[in-house]
């Protein structure tokens, strides 16, 4: 996607301006244009974007941002904060009734993922020791009732159905009595998918609501939804007064800008996200992570924080020096690797880098390989670490024996090191030895 590396883009926009000394508000505006485009590419509604950018601009042209050493990061931070704020800041939970049973009504467009979500919610409640009753109130879509029944069987929770010839309002009412007599403490009503402009069917929902006064009305929205998300959310909310949103199909590559549009027009929190077709693939919603995802920047903020914590500025400076003088050794290699490893597991780190996480998903990151590298380098003499050229065949065998690896492993490491050295030299040339000073000038991605 086009705006994948938003953070990089902003950084380079600001970098270009470095020569000018201070940033002007116009510079910030230029950068915010990138943010705007990223939001639109992520399917955030046009009007929502407009308002949001105005709000961000007000904060971002403030003196402390312009004067700071890291205006790009400051702007990203503000954008992130505003987005997170808009999406509800902290995580919200389901409303439970004072009296049993708690009634939850699940509504949404056709194909949004309501029935699956009902199954997932029920499974979640069951795990917490509750005993939910699932209610098949979709009498329209062929085999919708059967679908819910199959899910109910899978999670071993009862499903209430009166076939497809009864009115959904009557079904809902009967389901509540049924739950009461059977001691179910939660009732989850699966309603038929419908268009937000279909008056008849929207009235039907209103009638169900009137008949059973749900404690929680959840709107299920497909995370791939485009500009129309605002219309959908607005209509459902006006008609019913929704309490929360479930965002589905987030396991794909959708940026999920709909989340922002919906929060913005309804002010209702997103409570859960669906991350797969399996019935346990329902997770609580994290507004901050969603904000980064919408902007297409991975979890860059946490990455910056971790890097700042772990990477020793002094050492970075030394490294920079070595790179320039082409004195980078296997010792430094090991050192660097350990610094990076201190930041978390390899998979964790890669997942935080924009664009990388998704591509590597499913690929098994081999932590064991890093252990092997460490073992191999540790088995070398200081001379060998500083001067890998001297490592001949017999030394290789010795190192392999000492580290419990094979000669092939040793060969591979030496080759890798050579390549890394070359790459670093190129990078070093490119950045004119700016590897250091990480605090003031973070490169995205920086390794």
């Amino acid at each position: 996607m086009i705006f994948e590396g938003l953070a990089e883009k902003l950084q380079s926009t600001f970098d270009k301006l470095k020569g000018k000394g201070k940033l002007s508000s116009k510079d910030v505006k230029t950068a915010l244009r990138e943010v705007k485009l990223a939001l639109l590419e992520a399917d955030v509604n046009f009007k929502v974007v407009k308002n949001l950018i105005n709000k961000i601009e007000e904060r971002a042209v403030g003196q402390e941002v312009l004067d700071s050493l890291t205006p790009a990061q400051q702007v990203i931070k503000i954008v992130n904060e505003e987005l997170t704020d808009l999406m509800g800041g902290t995580q919200s939970k389901i409303n439970f009734g004072a009296k049993s049973p708690t009634v939850i009504m699940v509504v949404g467009l056709q194909g949004a993922g309501k029935t699956t979500t009902v199954g997932k919610l029920a499974k979640r409640f069951r795990k917490k020791g509750k005993d939910p009753l699932l209610v098949a109130a979709d009498i329209y879509r062929p085999a919708a009732i059967k679908q819910l029944q199959v899910l109910g069987e899978r999670i071993e929770q009862p499903v209430f159905s009166m076939g497809d010839k009864q009115n959904p309002v009557d079904i809902a009412k009967a389901a509540i009595s049924n739950a009461k007599s059977n001691g179910n403490d939660i009732v989850i009503i699966d309603t038929a998918g419908r268009l937000h402009i279909d008056e008849d069917l929207m009235n039907e929902l209103e009638d169900i609501k009137g008949a059973v006064t749900p404690h929680e009305i959840l709107l299920v929205v497909d995370s791939m939804t485009g500009q129309d998300a605002v219309n959908v959310a607005e209509n459902f909310d006006q008609k019913l007064g929704i309490d929360g949103v479930v965002l589905t199909k987030l396991d794909g590559d959708a940026r999920g800008g709909a989340a922002l549009s919906i929060s913005s027009v309804t002010g209702r929190p997103i409570k859960f996200v669906g991350m797969g077709e399996k019935l346990d693939a329902l997770e609580p919603f994290h507004p901050d992570r969603m904000a980064s995802r919408i902007l297409g920047m991975g979890d860059v903020l946490s990455l910056i924080e971790k890097a700042e914590e772990q990477i020793d500025a002094e050492k970075a400076k030394e490294l920079e020096e070595k790179l320039r003088k082409e004195e980078f050794t296997l010792e430094d290699f090991l050192d660097q690797m350990n610094q990076v490893r201190n930041m978390g597991s390899l998979e964790e780190i890669l997942n935080m880098i924009p664009g990388v996480g998704k591509q590597l998903k499913g690929l098994n990151m081999d932590e064991g390989q890093l252990d092997r590298i460490e073992a191999i380098i540790s088995s070398m003499t200081i001379e060998e670490r500083r001067n890998p050229e001297i490592i001949n065949g017999s030394r290789r065998r010795r190192i392999a024996n000492g580290s419990g690896t094979t000669v092939q492993d040793v060969n591979q490491l030496l080759k890798q090191f050579k390549q890394t050295k070359q790459m670093m030299k190129q990078m070093g040339d490119l950045q004119k030895g700016n590897m250091g000073g990480l605090k003031g000038k973070m490169k995205f991605p920086f390794f």
């Binding site: 056709q110 059967k146 008056e199 939804t225 129309d228 940026r255």
Partner: protein, 333 residues
């Protein structure tokens, strides 16, 4: 609407008159352009031109504001920033080169550009005089199974022998859903158990189609996200089996996209096309307020023709894609 109110079956006939009245009432409340189209409200080529021209009659000259408004409309119709800017830039160039001064002229040029982009000669499966196997693919919940029911109905109306294959062996009750449609249309369906290998279903269905000399075999597949590598691999395998067993019978792949989807539809089209070579697109749920403008970007980038549009949940709610009507709807507010 029929089924909404009375469910299916015998009752239908008895209540037909009432239903028609109901339906007329509902129609008034539905602003969706395509729905109205379907219900027979007047929409002609003239209507198409005037709609957009009305919108721009406010402008006395061509200025930045006009271009910005145009961009805004396109982005709000899910055309996407990238394609919108590209289209508007092209328009600007042409306006400059041809020294266009009148907003009305500009709009005409723009319509033509869009129309050209979206127009392609397509042959609908029921029009074909050779037997066809149609494999229907797409992400979860876009309307694959429903669209299959509707296509089957169209083919039935064109007096073709139709056979359905219940290739979604994964989702709960997916087989029952397709079977329900086959009953409505009056076609047979080849199905295995839930959890069975869908390539095996496809294999059996192709054999059956061959031995019965069926005109059209439509293979349903389970909804899958285009990013799920293993499931896309499975889809490839299904197609491989179909093509191999088809022994020369024409095989087509129809990708179903939901008009409510935003820019992610581009990614869907790209990856499905990469894995199973998509021949055409069906754009569903245009009876809502979503415009489905993302297909313009898909057309522009991938050149896959849009063949059909879905405008409702009933059997007859499937139409040929017409660029002019579609473009007009983009500008409807």
């Amino acid at each position: 609407m029929l089924k909404k109110i009375f469910g299916f079956g015998k009752e239908e006939e008895v209540k037909e008159q009432e239903v028609n009245e109901e339906q007329e009432e509902t129609t008034k409340e539905k602003p969706g352009l395509f729905k109205r189209l379907k219900d027979g409200l007047s929409k002609t080529r003239e209507g198409f031109v005037s709609q957009i021209q009305n919108l721009f009659s406010l402008y006395s000259s061509i200025d930045d504001e006009l271009y910005e408004d145009l961009e805004e409309i396109l982005i709000q119709a899910d055309v996407g920033v990238h394609t919108t800017m590209k289209l508007v830039d092209q328009l600007k160039t042409e306006v400059k080169e041809r020294k266009i001064k009148e907003p009305e002229e500009l709009i005409e040029i723009f319509q033509k550009q869009l129309c050209q982009l979206l127009s392609q000669d397509v042959e609908q499966v029921e029009e074909s005089d050779q037997p066809t196997i149609l494999m229907v693919v797409g992400v979860n919940g876009v309307g694959k199974t429903t669209t299959i029911g509707k296509i089957a109905q169209r083919a039935k109306n064109a007096e073709k022998d139709v056979l359905l294959a219940a290739g979604d062996t994964f989702r709960a009750a997916a087989i029952d859903q397709l079977t329900a449609w086959s009953n409505r249309v009056g076609t047979e369906v080849i199905a295995h158990q839930e959890g069975a290998d869908s390539a095996a279903v496809a294999y059996d269905a192709v054999q059956a189609a061959k031995s019965r000399a069926t005109d059209l075999l439509i293979v349903d597949t389970a909804g899958r996200l285009h990013t799920q590598a293993n499931l896309m691999e499975e889809l490839k395998k299904i197609k491989r089996v179909i093509v191999r067993e088809a022994e020369g019978i024409k095989v087509e792949v129809l990708l179903v996209l939901d008009a409510t989807t935003g820019q992610n539809a581009i990614s869907q089209a790209k990856l499905f096309n990469q894995e199973v070579d998509v021949d055409g697109i069906a754009l569903t749920k245009l009876d809502g307020t979503a415009k489905g403008g993302v297909v313009i970007a898909i057309m522009d980038e991938l050149g896959i023709p849009i063949k059909l549009i879905g405008v409702g949940e009933d059997l007859e709610d499937l139409q040929d894609f017409e660029p002019e009507t579609f473009i007009n709807a983009l500008f409807e507010q």
